[in-house]
């Protein structure tokens, strides 16, 4: 705009000089008026031109100053008709010069506006990658299922498959077949849920009845199939009041292996493999003597604290070890119950609490969160592979 203004000033001076050269004071007010008007209109034009921010206003300006009829340029031309003959040439050239200057100014401005509009259009069409994009809805597996899936994955390479059984069980499968004495307190109605219409039926208190069912089923073919090894994940029920560490329903994963000459070394070897696959290659395990009616010998298995690397933390209570599962060699009575000769076959079994492990790994403070099913919890804890 500065350059245009300068051009105009130069142009104005040029024809102003021409006029002055040819005019006299005596020429009267007409010519001076034309000159003053030209000067004023031109100043107006160059003030208004940069104010035009779009083509519409520019076209209006164009109409006002250089249009065919009624524009300032047209009016000036009309005045030329009445100008003294000897001045007509110069004045005409001056008005034309003025008009040409305006037209050029309009053209330049139009080009500028066009370029700006193109830029805007380009901007509107351009994708702003920083705008939040549409993201497909994301769901989640439940953390308990995810952990059970993981355990199955860990044991698959060792040839374990999955066995399942009903949640409503008989006392025979849940207790008798597992060498649990008839007067064991676990059988009491204070510990175990029973069905009103079927006094012989209960809600299984562990996944171990799946052992009994599976062993009964495979007993006749055990020799031809070469033993059996399986996991039994599932839901179990015990009559515990609901609080931050107890739930009347929870999950267990049971593991069992039957073969020839199976001893404690095989239990230790398998668990060492599996727990390292689960918690990392530097994981250590520790077996401690313990007692469960369905195994002999029995043991508790500790794992070096997966959270602090056995350095000592809140989770392992500074000991470096966390109790993770119970296990042992299958009690001969359990094999005998299923029709398997314990002098020929032997095996091991383990059982672990899924919630306990999930709480330990995630440091979830309250067991009830796992059954509340808040989507925020499920997203954060379960997620998807």
């Amino acid at each position: 705009m500065d350059s245009m203004q300068r051009q105009y000033e130069e142009g104005l001076l040029a024809w102003w000089g021409v006029i002055l050269r040819g005019s006299k004071e005596s020429d009267g007010p007409g010519e001076a008026m034309v000159l003053r008007e030209m000067k004023k209109r031109s100043a107006d034009f160059y003030n208004l031109l940069p104010e035009c921010k779009d083509l519409d206003s520019l076209n209006r300006l164009k109409g006002e100053f250089v249009g065919r009829d009624g524009s300032h340029a047209a009016k000036l031309m009309d005045r030329l008709k009445t100008a003294p003959k000897e001045q007509k040439r110069d004045l005409g050239a001056a008005i034309n010069g003025l008009k040409q200057g305006w037209e050029e100014g309009l053209k330049t401005r139009q080009a500028e506006l066009g370029a700006a509009k193109k830029d805007l259009n380009a901007l509107a069409d351009r994708w702003d990658p920083s705008l939040p994009p549409p993201v497909p809805a994301r769901g989640a597996l439940h953390p308990l299922n995810r952990l059970m899936d993981r355990l199955v994955e860990v044991f698959r390479p060792l040839g374990f498959h999955v066995e399942e059984g009903p949640e409503v069980e008989t006392e025979a499968h849940n207790f008798d077949g597992l060498n649990i004495p008839e007067d064991h307190s676990a059988r009491a109605s204070s510990d175990t849920f029973y069905l009103a219409a079927h006094p012989d039926l209960l809600l299984r208190t562990h996944t171990s009845p799946v052992q009994v069912r599976t062993l009964l089923r495979v007993a006749p073919e055990l020799g031809t199939r070469g033993g059996i090894r399986f996991l039994a994940p599932g839901r179990v029920y015990r009559k515990d009041e609901i609080d931050p560490t107890h739930s009347p329903m929870f999950h267990q994963v049971e593991g069992m292996l039957v073969g020839h000459g199976i001893g404690m070394q095989h239990l230790k070897g398998t668990l060492e493999y599996a727990l390292r696959a689960l918690f990392g290659p530097h994981t250590e395990i520790r077996l401690r003597p313990s007692y469960f009616p369905f195994v002999e010998p029995g043991c508790e298995v500790d794992v070096s604290c997966p959270l602090c690397g056995a350095a000592g933390c809140r989770v392992c209570k500074g000991s470096g070890w966390v109790e993770i599962l119970g296990a042992g060699l299958i009690h001969p009575n359990v094999l005998t119950y299923a029709g398997i000769d314990p002098t020929v076959w032997s095996g091991w079994a383990f059982g672990m609490g899924v919630e306990r492990m999930a709480m330990m790994l995630s440091q979830t403070p309250d067991l009830r969160l796992f059954f509340e099913n808040d989507q925020r919890f499920l997203q954060a804890m379960g997620g998807l592979d």
């Binding site: 899936d149 498959h161 401690r288 989507q375």
Partner: protein, 640 residues
């Protein structure tokens, strides 16, 4: 169980030299993990976890025995001056084998208090001293040596004492002040007036020792564990005594504990022994248990010498004969848990330390089994739904009868699925449907401010049947709230029933799912997983050729009645079209407006044709006309 360190060291002096950490580790390695350590009464008390099979270890002496065997250090001698057995002062009759031995004594009490160190010992174990020497001494003995004893006020016993089965309906007011009605399976100590104690569980209030007691009758016996457990459970009366008798006390301790008690009362309050006698005798040990070298090696994972095994078992108090290829072992009187060879193998390993067990992966003896199709189907379904934006839930299998009846199928009465002893009414019925649980979880999420809730659960539902509830793996879905509208490209809209239908279709469900309203803008459906199409048996399905010629799409905007069933119209139109070229026919828009004739709506039907040749415009026009005619026969009209 609380164990006081000084009292433990009194039984095994070597324990005094172990720091607390080492002591706890040693106990844990023996199978007795320590849950906590507390500083009390100027000493340390350990909270030791003792498994139910080890009644013999439920005392300071019992754990000392274990430590002595493990550390190969001597136990302190058991210092009791045997009382001279004399003529019975009171006639005691054993009427059942449930009490084979009963040692007793009568003492005249003098003046004196329970020694301060014994009071401190009891306090350290969270037991309150009664300041009655006969009571406190019995209590101290129980904790120190594991053998429960009892003191009666001898002057309040009427006539002869019998250890007999209760007569049904007899009553006894026990020390806790509760009057209990007994059954014939309760073993009691009785005098001429009736029961005066529940054997091995709790004494009677009428014969209890008080400040006024001058003469005491001491009882140190052995009671059948099963009987004691049953009585304790029947009367909800779990005591230190029933805990130990119920897990098997040492019958050989009966006279010894009596003597220890007499010694204490003499020392503490100058009691005078009037007479001591034992009725019956401890049951004789059972047959020896064999342990072969082969079995031991199998369990241990490596060959162990019989000498080493014999040594370990002897340290535990067993009497062991070493024979060719194995041992014959008679367990000590305090071990009721050693009855099969595996039990003995465990003892050998336990004393050796489980840390010495080798680590070996078991060899495969046969081919592994694949995962079952049912398990795989559920696992894949869960993953698929999670990828479709749904959250897997886990809810309890039991719900309230009210919640159940709203969704359970007719013909599935709750009676066959009701628990006799639920945690509460709201957890009393094994659910016939997953929807009540999903509804509760969805409502909870919406209350918590979730904009949209998408849940599913894969769990059994239960159907009542004569032989007991039948379980079927069921998929339940719940979807509600506002769908989309969370980004600048997709408009928001409420979740509709049709969205759930779409999911069912996506899962391959070939029927119309019964979409249920679960609340304001919340919908759900459930289906039996086994009724979903199974996964393809082939890894990759058979190839089916498809056309490479251009497809032709035509739209028909039809005015139909508001009540028109879409399925019928679509079927009629399809029937009029050549099936080999019709790729798809569907309603892609529904228009309902006041501008339409009253009672009518507009459906935009889209047809897609494709064949193994280029289709000619005229033939497609002909098909569309036929489809229109078919629609018109059902009352539809082409919308102008």
């Amino acid at each position: 169980m609380w164990i006081e360190r000084k009292a433990l060291a009194a039984e095994i002096p070597a324990a005094a030299g172990l720091d607390t950490r080492r002591l706890c580790e040693t106990l844990a390695a023996l199978g007795f993990p320590v849950d906590g350590v507390a500083a009390r009464e100027g000493t340390e008390a350990l909270d030791v976890d003792i498994t139910a099979n080890r009644g013999d270890a439920m005392s300071h002496r019992g754990l000392a025995r274990e430590l002595a065997a493990k550390l190969q250090q001597p136990l302190a001698p058991l210092e009791a001056s045997p009382a001279v057995e004399g003529a019975p002062g009171i006639d005691v009759r054993l009427e059942t084998p449930a009490c084979p031995v009963y040692s007793t004594a009568i003492l005249e009490l003098g003046m004196g208090d329970t020694p301060l160190e014994v009071q401190a010992f009891l306090l350290a174990l969270e037991s309150t001293p009664k300041r009655l020497p006969a009571v406190d001494a019995s209590n101290e003995l129980l904790h120190r040596f594991g053998h429960p004893t009892h003191a009666f006020d001898a002057d309040r016993i009427r006539g002869a004492v019998a250890i007999r089965w209760a007569r049904a309906g007899e009553t006894l007011t026990t020390l806790d002040g509760v009057t209990r009605t007994l059954v014939a399976q309760d073993l009691v100590i009785a005098d001429a007036s009736g029961p005066i104690a529940l054997a091995g569980v709790m004494g009677g209030d009428g014969t209890k020792v008080t400040e006024a007691t001058r003469r005491v009758l001491l009882e140190s016996a052995w009671f059948d564990p099963k009987t004691v457990r049953a009585t304790a459970r029947r009367h909800s009366l779990h005591t230190d005594a029933s805990h130990r008798f119920g897990r098997g006390a040492d019958p050989a301790m009966a006279p010894v504990a009596r003597d220890l008690l007499v010694d204490r009362l003499r020392a503490w309050c100058g009691a005078r022994l009037m007479g001591a006698w034992t009725v019956g005798s401890a049951p004789v040990a059972g047959a020896p248990v064999p342990l072969t070298e082969t079995l031991l090696a199998r369990v241990a994972g490596e060959p162990l010498s019989l000498a080493e095994a014999a040594d370990a078992l002897r340290r535990l108090g067993c009497s062991v004969d070493v024979e060719t290829g194995g041992l014959r072992v008679i367990p000590p009187t305090w071990r009721h848990d050693l009855s099969i060879p595996e039990d003995l193998a465990e003892e050998v390993l336990r004393l050796r330390g489980y840390e010495h067990i080798p680590s070996v992966l078991p060899p495969l003896e046969g081919p592994p089994e694949p995962l079952s199709p049912s398990y795989l189907q559920r696992q894949r379904l869960a993953r698929r739904l999670a990828h479709l934006g749904f959250h897997q839930t886990v809810t309890y299998g039991f719900i309230s009868p009210e919640a159940d009846v709203a969704f359970a199928a007719p013909g599935n009465p709750a009676e066959g699925r009701t628990l006799v002893n639920p945690l509460g009414q709201e957890y009393s019925v094994l659910r016939g449907s997953l929807l009540p649980s999903l509804r509760a979880a969805a409502e909870q999420n919406l209350r918590q401010g979730a904009r949209e809730v998408r849940l599913f659960e894969l769990a059994p539902t239960y159907a009542s049947a004569p032989q007991g509830p039948v379980e079927r793996f069921t998929l339940g879905m719940a979807w509600g709230g506002i769908l989309d509208g969370e980004d600048y490209l997709s408009p928001a809209r409420p979740v509709r029933e049709a969205d759930l239908s779409g999911i069912a279709q996506e899962l391959g469900w070939d029927r119309l799912p019964e979409v249920r309203s679960l609340g304001e803008g919340l919908f759900g459906f459930e289906l039996t997983v086994s009724e979903l199409p199974p996964a393809e048996a082939r890894v990759i399905p058979a190839f089916r050729p498809f056309s490479r010629f251009p497809a032709v799409e035509r739209d028909l905007s039809l005015l139909v009645d508001l009540g028109q069933a879409y399925g019928a119209l679509a079927a009629a139109m399809k029937a009029a079209l050549p099936l080999d070229t019709l790729q798809d026919l569907r309603c892609v828009d529904v228009f309902r407006s006041k501008g339409l004739p009253e009672g009518r709506q507009a459906w935009l039907m889209r047809m897609r044709f494709q064949a193994d040749r280029t289709l000619v415009g005229e033939e497609v026009d002909g098909w569309v006309a036929a489809a229109l005619a078919a629609a018109e026969s059902l009352g539809a009209k082409l919308r102008a």
